[in-house]
C-alpha cells in the first residue's frame, strides 16, 4: 500500500519545476519575478538558490521579448519553461506564440521544432477586476500548432510538466489561480508523470455529464454532490487537455447520460464550451435527450465588487440549475 502525502497545488508545481531542472540541463525557467521574488504565486520560491541565475532567469517587463526569446532558445536546442505571469499579460506576447511558436514547424515544412512550455496563471475570483481576471484558454486552444493543457488537480499539477517538456511542440499550461491553495494527496512513488492527452472521468454518474476543466472542476464536483443528494446522478469529466480535445471520452459519456452540461469560465460567445457543444451536436446528436447546456461567465468585463464577480462567474447553483434544466425539472 503506497503511502500518501498531502501537498498543495502550488507545492506540486514547484516540485515539478525542480524535478525538471534536476533531470535535464537544457531546462531553464524564465519569466517576470520567477527568481529573487520566488514567483508571483510562489511557485518557484527557492529555485534560484539551488539552480542559480543562469537557469532561473528574472526578466524585464517585456513579455514579447522574453517569450520570443524562449521560442528562439527552444529552436536553439534548449527546453525552456517560460512563465507568463497571467493570461492577462499574454496578450502582449500572443503574436510570438501564434505567429512564431505555433507556426514555424508547419511553415518551414517540418524543418523547425519548438519544444517550449509556457505556463500561465488564469481565471477570476479574487476581485482583481477586469484586466486581471481573464480566462482566455480558448484563444490558445483555437490555434493549430499549439498543445494546451489545464491541470485541475494536485496530481496533474505535479505530473503534467514532465510530459509537456518532453513534447517536441509548444505546450501552454494554464494554472487557475483559485487552485494554487488547493490541497491533494499524492502517492510517494517516484514517478508521478501523468499523460496530457486524455480527459478523465472524475465522478461516474447516470443522469447528466458535466464537462469542465481547470478552476471550474471543484465547482462541478460540488454541484454533482449537491445533486446526488436530490437523487440526480451526474458524471463529471475533467478535460485536462484543451487542445487536442479528448472528445472520445466526452462523447462516450454523453452516449450514456444523454445530457451534457459544459462549465467554462470563459465568456459564452466563441468559448471552448461552444466548441465542445458544437462537436457534441455534430457527433452525438442522436444521443441527446435535451439541448446541450453551457454554464459560462456572464458576458461582462469581470467586475471588482465581490457580489458582482460571484454573479458573473459560473456558480455551483448555476451548474445544478443547468443540470435540472437538461433534465426538464
Amino acid at each position: 500500500m503506497t503511502e500518501i502525502r498531502t501537498i498543495s497545488y502550488r507545492e506540486a508545481i514547484r516540485e515539478a519545476l525542480r524535478e525538471a531542472l534536476l533531470s535535464d540541463p537544457r531546462v531553464f525557467l524564465m519569466g517576470e519575478d520567477v527568481g529573487r521574488y520566488g514567483g508571483a504565486f510562489a511557485c518557484s520560491k527557492g529555485l534560484i538558490d539551488e539552480f542559480g541565475e543562469e537557469r532561473i532567469r528574472d526578466t524585464p517587463l517585456a513579455e514579447s521579448g522574453f517569450t520570443g526569446a524562449g521560442i528562439g532558445a527552444a529552436l536553439g536546442g534548449m527546453r525552456p519553461i517560460v512563465e507568463v505571469m497571467t493570461v492577462n499579460f499574454s496578450l502582449l506576447c500572443i503574436d510570438q506564440i501564434v505567429n512564431n511558436a505555433a507556426t514555424l514547424r508547419h511553415m518551414s515544412g517540418g524543418q523547425f521544432s519548438v519544444p517550449l512550455v509556457i505556463r500561465m496563471a488564469t481565471g477570476a475570483g479574487h476581485q482583481l477586476a477586469a484586466q486581471h481576471s481573464h480566462s482566455l484558454e480558448n484563444w490558445y486552444a483555437h490555434v493549430p500548432g499549439l498543445r494546451v493543457v489545464a491541470p485541475a488537480t494536485v496530481a496533474d499539477a505535479r505530473g503534467m510538466l514532465r510530459k509537456a517538456l518532453d513534447d517536441p511542440d509548444p505546450v501552454i499550461m494554464f494554472e487557475h489561480t483559485a487552485l494554487y491553495n488547493a490541497v491533494g494527496d499524492l502517492p510517494t512513488t517516484s514517478d508521478l508523470t501523468v499523460d496530457i492527452n486524455h480527459a478523465k472521468v472524475r465522478r461516474g454518474g447516470r443522469d447528466a455529464s458535466i464537462i469542465t476543466y481547470g478552476g471550474s472542476l471543484p465547482k462541478a464536483l460540488e454541484a454533482a454532490n449537491k445533486l446526488s443528494g436530490e437523487g440526480i446522478s451526474c458524471e463529471v469529466i475533467d478535460l485536462r487537455s484543451l487542445r487536442p480535445l479528448d472528445m472520445e471520452t466526452v462523447l462516450a459519456s454523453v452516449a450514456r447520460t444523454h445530457r451534457a452540461v459544459i462549465v467554462d469560465e470563459g465568456w459564452r460567445t466563441g468559448s471552448l464550451a461552444a466548441e465542445i457543444s458544437a462537436q457534441i451536436a455534430e457527433r452525438a446528436l442522436y444521443d441527446l435527450d435535451a439541448p446541450v447546456e453551457r454554464v459560462c461567465s456572464a458576458e461582462v468585463p469581470i467586475p471588482y465588487a465581490r457580489h458582482l464577480e460571484l454573479a458573473a462567474l459560473p456558480s455551483v447553483d448555476g451548474i445544478a440549475a443547468a443540470v435540472k434544466k437538461a433534465l426538464r425539472q
Partner: protein
C-alpha cells in the same frame, strides 16, 4: 566608396564573388517582378533591388554555424547565404520542392541546413527569436552568433527595445543589422521616429552601434567583420545601421505616392552595382567583360531556377495538416 577597407580581401577572386552574388540577387528579383505580373507568383512580394550590398557584405563575415533571422524582404539574404536559387524560386511558386516546402512563399523562405530561420512577416517579430537563439548558444557555451536583419521600421516596435535590452542585459552573441532604406512601407523615417539615427536607439539600450554605407558592399563587409569579431569574443551584442535605399515599391501593390521619382533616380545613380563596378574597374581588378560574363552566367542560373519551379510538383492537399504537430506526439490528435 572608400579607398581602403581593412580586413577585406580585395583580390580579384573575392571581388568577382561579391559581384556575382549581387548580380544574381538583382537578376533574380527582376525575374520575380515579371513572374508576379503574369500571376505565377502571388500574394505579397517585397523586392530587395537596391539593397543587395547589405546581404552580400554581411554574409561574407558569417560562418556556416551562425544563425540568420531575416524579414519578409529576405530573397537576397537567402541567395547570399547560399540557399539554392531553384528552391527559393520554387518557394515563390508555392511548390513542394521550395525552401519551405511551398508553405511559406516569398515572405517565409527558410532552410534549416543553412540555419536560415527565415523570413518573418510581423515587423520586429524576428528580433526576440534571434535573442533566444543566442541565449541558447550562450547557455550551451557554443561558439557562434546569431545575425538578425530588420528594417528601420522595426525600431518603432516594442519588441525592438525589449530584444536589444535583453541582448545587452545578458551579453548575448547577437549581431543586429538594421537595413535602413528610409521608408517603412509608405512612411518616411522622419515621419515616424523622433530620433532618426537608429544607431542611437541601440546605444541607448546598451548595444554598441555604428552606421555603415549600405550601398558599398566592401564597407558592409568591413564593418560586419569587425562587429562579428567583437560578438565572437564574448563582448555581447553589436548593432550595424546600414543606410541604403530600395529602388522599387515597398511591394507589388504600391503606387509609391510617398516619394518622388527624382529621389529614386538620385539613389540609383549611387546603386551598389554601379559603385562597385566603377571602383573595381577603375583599379583594374575587374573588367567590363567580367561583369558581362557574370550577367550571362546569372541569367542562365535564374532561367534554370524558373524551369525548376515550373516543373516542380505541388504539395498534395492530403498533406495539408502534416507537420502542424510533430507526428506521433499525441495519440488524440491522431485519433480525432
Amino acid at each position: 566608396m572608400k579607398t581602403s577597407y581593412d580586413g577585406v580581401d580585395l583580390r580579384r577572386e573575392h571581388l568577382l564573388e561579391l559581384a556575382r552574388q549581387m548580380i544574381l540577387i538583382r537578376c533574380f528579383e527582376e525575374k520575380c517582378a515579371e513572374l508576379y505580373s503574369v500571376e505565377k507568383i502571388r500574394g505579397f512580394l517585397h523586392l530587395y533591388i537596391g539593397e543587395e550590398a547589405n546581404a552580400v557584405g554581411v554574409m561574407q563575415a558569417l560562418e556556416a554555424e551562425d544563425a540568420i533571422v531575416a524579414t519578409y524582404r529576405e530573397h537576397g539574404h537567402a541567395l547570399a547565404r547560399g540557399l539554392p536559387p531553384t528552391e527559393v524560386m520554387a518557394e515563390m511558386y508555392g511548390k513542394a520542392a521550395g525552401s519551405s516546402r511551398g508553405r511559406g512563399g516569398s515572405m517565409h523562405i527558410c532552410d534549416a541546413a543553412y540555419r536560415f530561420y527565415g523570413g518573418f512577416a510581423i515587423v520586429g517579430g524576428g528580433l526576440p527569436l534571434a535573442v533566444g537563439l543566442a541565449l541558447a548558444d550562450k547557455m550551451l557555451s557554443r561558439k557562434r552568433l546569431t545575425c538578425c536583419f530588420f528594417g528601420e521600421g522595426a525600431a518603432a516596435e516594442g519588441e525592438f527595445h525589449e530584444s536589444l535590452n535583453l541582448a545587452a542585459l545578458w551579453k548575448l552573441p547577437v549581431l543586429f543589422v538594421c537595413e535602413n532604406n528610409g521608408y517603412a512601407m509608405g512612411t518616411a523615417l522622419e515621419r515616424s521616429e523622433a530620433v532618426t539615427d537608429i544607431y542611437l536607439h541601440a546605444e541607448s539600450l546598451g548595444v554598441p552601434a555604428q552606421t555603415v554605407d549600405g550601398m558599398d558592399v566592401l564597407a558592409v563587409e568591413e564593418a560586419t567583420r569587425l562587429a562579428a569579431a567583437k560578438v565572437r569574443a564574448g563582448q555581447g551584442p553589436q548593432f550595424l545601421e546600414n543606410r541604403t535605399y530600395r529602388f522599387r515599391a515597398h511591394s507589388m501593390f504600391d503606387a509609391e505616392l510617398y516619394r518622388d521619382k527624382a529621389e529614386v533616380e538620385e539613389w540609383k545613380r549611387r546603386g551598389p552595382l554601379v559603385q562597385f563596378k566603377a571602383w573595381t574597374v577603375d583599379r583594374g581588378i575587374l573588367t567590363e567583360a567580367d561583369f558581362n560574363s557574370l550577367e550571362g552566367e546569372v541569367e542562365h542560373i535564374v532561367a534554370e531556377a524558373v524551369r525548376f519551379a515550373e516543373a516542380a510538383p505541388l504539395e498534395p492537399v492530403a498533406d495539408l495538416a502534416k507537420d502542424v504537430m510533430t507526428p506521433g506526439a499525441s495519440e488524440t490528435e491522431a485519433r480525432s
